[in-house]
Symmetry: none
Subunit: 130 residues, 4 copies
DNA sequence: GTGGTCTAGACCACC
DNA sequence: GTGGTCTAGACCACG
């Protein structure tokens, strides 16, 4: 599990950390019951402050990607039902804004659909297809 | 042209203003050579700080949606070629993160494509179709 | 609105801040659309670190007591439906543990009910009774 | 005597162990002069660190639920008078915070009293009623 | 001036 | 060793 960060990005570091772990789960690099590195360990590893990693983990917990086991630390435990409504609302809004700009720029809808297609083929694990 | 704002959103107000105007252009409510309201007027109208409207207009200018006419103020003038590369980069990245989360939540790719389809049918003006 | 803190308590300061504000809302000292003091202002006032107040506000937001208005800061906006299930679960568990200990100590159930009665008469606002 | 633990809970494991034993005493599953399992044995049984069980036993001793017998280990020996004042103080405070939140959520006082009633009927042993 | 982000470093509770 | 809490102080985005 490699976490790539762009310190020059406008995207907060804790968001990038969270996104990388979410990506790892999508790709199957991380599966249920896997232990994440400790907050301090990961912080040292990727050279950010402990609190930054902590914030990423807290969000992952709130969204239902991990749980904090008092003995083992952060453990992957995917349980997304509760947060899916909230997610869909922001996803739809973001997609709307994106598509509107695509339209204004003359980007055809098939181009966008192809992007979606490509992303699904990259990230969808074999055993999830149907 | 109605501008809807959510002051509790995590999205900056100036971004919301910009997005609403971009939406108006997509829908044809605003077309080339239309004058936008004055910075002060709009600010008073939607009850935000003048600087906030100013920032929205500045971004619209930078992205190629409007030009600033000394006498007429902000005038719609769509010229997006220059900013399209930049847009596509962030759009792809945002779409990637969104799709990854959809995958983790078991949302099928056809659902996402349908969302794209719906948005195109809502926002694509007749004369742009082909 | 006075916030009383006990720095020697085992209860985290941010929890105490949160509880005091929740109490203020119950008592009607704070009502919908009231503005809370700024994070920094309150922090200076009660002599704690900004981040500690910030954490209290974040929890109040997550629980549905306040919203963050980009123009006005933290604003009371009570919307508890979403978090009530979660609350009831921990309340029932805490009450269970408390009652069990009362039973072991020979405290009669009417004594506990009287405590509940007293608390309701202290904190329930007139207009909520029925 | 079954001890149920939730390793993902915000409640420390030693507290959970203590609470489960207190519950067993309330239910009459454990009565005066019963021997608790050895620290090592219980720790192995419920898969926690030996120190964690040790801490739970120490608190049970301090609160007057058990005594430590050199030969027999931890032995149930209920003697709660001394700790009841301390208990009542934290119980009242916890109940206060809980009730305040109930009030804010529109939960009627009879609902809370019913919860108390239910808990008493579940946990109060026949021979203690009066 | 507001909240949001990030760092550095400390202490504590828990396991 | 772990995560949780708290402080102090900095910079930035926003309004």
């Amino acid at each position: 599990m490699i976490i790539r960060l762009d310190f020059d990005s406008e995207i907060p570091i804790y968001t990038q950390i969270k996104d990388e772990i979410v990506k790892g789960i999508a790709l199957g690099d991380l599966t249920d019951d896997d232990e994440l590195p400790s907050v301090r360990g990961l912080a040292a590893d990727i050279e950010v402050n402990m609190h930054t990693v902590n914030k990423a983990y807290k969000i992952l917990k709130d969204e239902g990607y991990i749980r904090i086991d008092r003995r083992r630390g952060a453990v992957v435990s995917v349980n997304l039902e509760e947060s899916t409504n909230r997610f869909m609302k922001t996803f739809k809004r973001d997609l709307e804004i994106g598509v509107i700009q695509c339209i204004n720029r003359g980007i055809p809808k098939d181009k966008v659909k192809d992007l979606v297609e490509d992303l699904y083929s990259i990230y969808l694990k074999e055993d999830q297809r149907g």
